[in-house]
């Protein structure tokens, strides 16, 4: 565009000089001159996102991660990562005058003596639980719909890696306050590292700076891992996850006009941006509502960690529950021989078991493609019922993990149901290997039955019962409603101009006129 030769005198002249798209157009021109953004930018604005509620699960993870970063930065301004002993002088009266670690003192301090500190701490903790929970559910969606198939195997692996790092960082994070519950968790983690054959005790000594509880180095080490190293890797993986999503484009469910070679949905700008930004606010809101109303991890009640103290019914955060459950139901098989000891009762459930689970998850896309001999591109999603074997395998995995998860509360269950603890233990020792097999066959059978059923997945029409003048009753199917498929329109490329018609024209017509 040629620059104006004379200085504009009036606002009107100035506006005209900017060209037909005004200030925004001028900015686009300036940026495009330097960065060449126009072509790619237009494609990006027109990028299509398929609509389905299950595609929001990953967004929950993304947005809770945003909340984690924001609240985490706030907490890091007040938290002191030090095991140094100080006398507590804060406003929590029962603790006054006690000798506690600076980490614990500052955690209680930021909860009670920093404005909105407790809200931020609880929101941070809730966000972590929601982050991992939504990852798990998002992953189940990806698994059951076969979204991990070619070409998306790498993104599946990136996702599993983020899950693992998320669990690790969650553990590191809830260990930082140095309270009685988290300290017990660190003690257990030390013993788990120690259980690794050959190198275990060396590793444990290196990580903790000596024999348990170390020389006070574990808190600062966990801190730097928790706030810098792991989040940095997570952010890198997140960028890769989203970058691959943009490059490979989102999958979609089968439906009218949807093929392996296109994406049908709403455009990035403005529709998707509006909806997803709104969702960001809503996820943040739910986390802060929980942080404000639902108490979580009341460290001032647990007290400072002392290695010789413990409380009853200590349980880790939910995402560690499956490991704790596996430790509980494992028989006491310690291998001793040739002057060496392998604590299999720890090594198998706490190292081998999670290692096996994560490895199965990572290689699953390749296991499946080898089994099905299917190397084609897949951009259309499966319905779970159409893949009975995969759905069965997923059901078995979820049942296995669910069972060991519930096994982490054997003592609480024994108390609650008033049955001997040993019954509860043996129930889980039997249920953990048996129920996944049952789940597999049950899911397999249900899938096959659903596939055989007629009219499944189709919207039912309402039945209208009417009474004639003579008192006779009859039942008729209602007329097809909008959305039953009769008047669905074919998808079109995103137009530049979208003129919304006045309501009087739109009413009843069922269509909008769009200029293109």
């Amino acid at each position: 565009m040629s620059a104006p030769s004379t200085t504009p005198r009036t606002k009107r002249q100035a506006k005209a000089a900017l060209g037909p798209y005004g200030r925004a157009g001028s900015i686009v021109n300036d940026l495009d001159d330097r960065l060449g953004i126009a072509k790619g930018g237009r494609v990006f604005l027109d990028k299509i996102f398929p609509d389905h509620w299950s595609f929001m699960l990953g967004e929950i993870s993304l947005y809770s991660f945003v909340v984690l970063l924001a609240t985490g930065v706030f907490l890091s301004l007040y938290y002191i990562p030090s095991a140094h002993e100080v006398v507590y002088h804060g406003s929590y009266i029962p603790l006054r005058g006690q000798r506690v670690s600076e980490a614990y003192s500052s955690s209680v301090g930021l909860s009670f003596d920093v404005r909105s500190g407790l809200l931020m701490r609880q929101a941070h903790h809730w966000a972590a639980d929601i982050f991992l929970g939504s990852i798990a559910v998002h992953m189940a969606r990806v698994f059951f719909t076969g979204a991990f198939r070619k070409p998306r195997e790498f993104n599946w692996i990136v996702g599993v890696s983020m899950l693992i790092l998320g669990i690790v960082n969650g553990f590191l994070g809830y260990s930082l306050p140095d309270d009685l519950v988290s300290g017990t968790g660190i003690r257990i983690a030390y013993s788990i590292i120690e259980s690794i054959p050959l190198v275990g005790s060396y590793l444990a000594f290196f990580v903790f700076g000596g024999n348990y509880p170390g020389n006070g180095v574990i808190i600062p080490r966990f801190f730097i891992l928790h706030v810098l190293i792991v989040p940095l890797i997570l952010i890198g993986l997140l960028a890769a996850h989203l970058g691959l999503l943009v490059k490979q484009k989102h999958t979609q469910f089968k439906g009218r006009g949807k093929t392996e070679h296109n994406v049908v949905g709403s455009p990035m700008f403005p529709t998707f941006i509006a909806k997803t930004t709104g969702f960001l606010f809503m996820v943040t809101a739910v986390i802060f509502l929980l942080g404000g109303f639902a108490q979580i991890n009341p460290i001032w009640q647990f007290g400072q960690y002392e290695p010789y103290q413990i409380s009853y019914a200590v349980q880790p955060d939910w995402y560690m529950g499956w490991l704790d459950g596996a430790l509980r139901i494992m028989p006491s098989w310690e291998w001793v021989g040739w002057g060496h000891t392998i604590p299999l009762e720890v090594f198998l459930p706490a190292v081998i078991f999670p290692g096996l689970i994560f490895n199965i998850l990572i290689v699953w896309p390749f296991i499946e493609s080898r089994h099905t001999k299917d190397l084609a591109y897949h951009n259309l999603l499966d319905r779970p019922r159409d893949r009975p074997k995969r759905t069965g395998a997923g059901a078995a995995m979820l049942t296995l993990l669910g069972m060991v998860f519930f096994a982490s509360s054997t003592d609480v269950m024994a108390n609650f149901f008033q049955v001997p603890l040993i019954w509860v233990l043996w129930f889980f020792r039997i249920a953990v290997p048996v129920t996944p097999v049952i789940a597999y066959f049950l899911a397999y059978k249900i899938c096959n039955e659903m596939r055989a059923a007629e009219g499944i997945g189709k919207r039912k029409r309402a039945l209208v019962v009417s009474r004639s003048a003579t008192g006779e009753y009859s039942t008729v199917e209602s007329e097809p409603r909008p959305g039953d498929g009769a008047e669905e329109l074919d998808a079109v490329p995103v137009p530049t101009y979208i003129d919304l018609v006045p309501p009087e024209l739109a009413t009843g017509e069922g269509v909008r006129r769009v200029m293109r």
């Binding site: 030390y190 444990a204 170390g214 998808a491 995103v494 069922g510 769009v514």
Partner: protein
């Protein structure tokens, strides 16, 4: 858009209304003005709540008010924006073609050729250089492990097998007071430490020992330990042999020590043999006696490492 030259030709194409496929939403989509009014109202409420958060923060009100105001405000803001996007913005269906991810065969071959040919130049013609460089890089990798790993802590040596209990070490409670015959009532339990180690990490984590007084005065847990429990005072390591949690619960009637972490139960009567749960070994027993002043002391240290198992553990110290 006054400049006619910039006006692309406009053609009318029928577009479905927003939320076209949901009969429950069609009404709202056909009445954009009503939706506008509702979304506007939601935004006004959101503004009130968010401003309320500001006020609550200023007045330093309770956390639930802070969370409630900011939560409600952000939720309404997000809800309004989502509703705006859902009912008042173009929904399509719009379509976009997928690009073929794969390159052409020629392009692939060119890349493979470049990789293979250029590597050949390096590896085949300059084998010595390549080898030396790989050696250097490899040694760097190993050497780099030292500060990354070895600087972090000492090697274990035999420290895992040691405690501070020696022959004649006096048992003291958490306030440093020595233990005598009358310290515990029958059925009583306490945690004891070697004298001088009460407020140390080592004393609290490794040396912690649980002292129980049972009714029988000629108490023998295991044959060969006849003199280890004078006057019914019996002491076991408090570090669970499963994962090192303090074995902090005592069931007086059954004389069972219970670990709250994973419910291992140790029978005090027969040498703390685990009778339930994942713990693989009995808690090591500390042989006790009374010294000349009537205070409890250790006859000797533990006869085996305390706490959980590890590779170099053997059953004697």
């Amino acid at each position: 858009m006054s400049d006619d030259q910039h006006e692309p030709t406009r053609t009318k194409v029928p577009m479905p209304i927003a939320a076209f496929d949901d009969p429950h939403l069609g009404d709202a989509a056909r009445n954009p003005q009503r939706v506008e009014a509702i979304v506007g109202g939601i935004f006004v409420l959101a503004i009130i709540f968010i401003a309320g958060f500001g006020a609550a923060y200023w007045q330093n009100w309770d956390p639930w008010i802070l969370g409630g105001t900011i939560g409600a405000g952000l939720f309404l803001l997000g809800f309004g924006l989502t509703a705006w996007g859902k009912y008042l913005m173009p929904q399509g269906p719009f379509v976009e073609e997928r690009h073929v991810l794969a390159s052409s065969t020629e392009e692939r071959d060119l890349m493979s050729a470049a990789l293979v040919e250029r590597t050949a130049v390096v590896v085949k013609r300059r084998k010595l250089l390549g080898g030396l460089f790989a050696l250097g890089a490899g040694i760097f990798g190993i050497v780099a492990l030292f500060p990354l790993l070895r600087s972090l802590g000492p090697v274990p040596g035999d420290t895992l097998a040691l405690t501070n209990w020696r022959k004649g070490t006096r048992l003291v409670d958490s306030n440093g007071r020595p233990v005598h015959l009358e310290t515990l009532v029958v059925g009583g339990i306490m945690t004891v430490y070697p004298r001088g180690m009460v407020n140390t990490d080592e004393g609290q984590a490794t040396d912690q020992t649980v002292l129980i007084r049972v009714q029988r005065t000629d108490f023998t847990t295991v044959p060969g330990r006849e003199t280890w429990a004078p006057a019914g005072y019996v002491a076991y390591s408090k570090a669970c042999t499963h994962l090192g949690c303090p074995v902090g619960l005592y069931e007086t009637e059954l004389e069972l020590l219970v670990c709250p972490c994973h419910q291992s139960m140790f029978n005090v009567r027969n040498g703390a043999v685990p009778q339930f749960g994942p713990a693989p070994r009995p808690l090591p027993q500390l042989p006790l006696t009374f010294d000349a002043n009537g205070y409890l002391v250790a006859q000797a240290g533990y006869d085996q490492p305390v706490g959980p198992g590890y590779w170099t553990r053997s059953n004697t110290t």
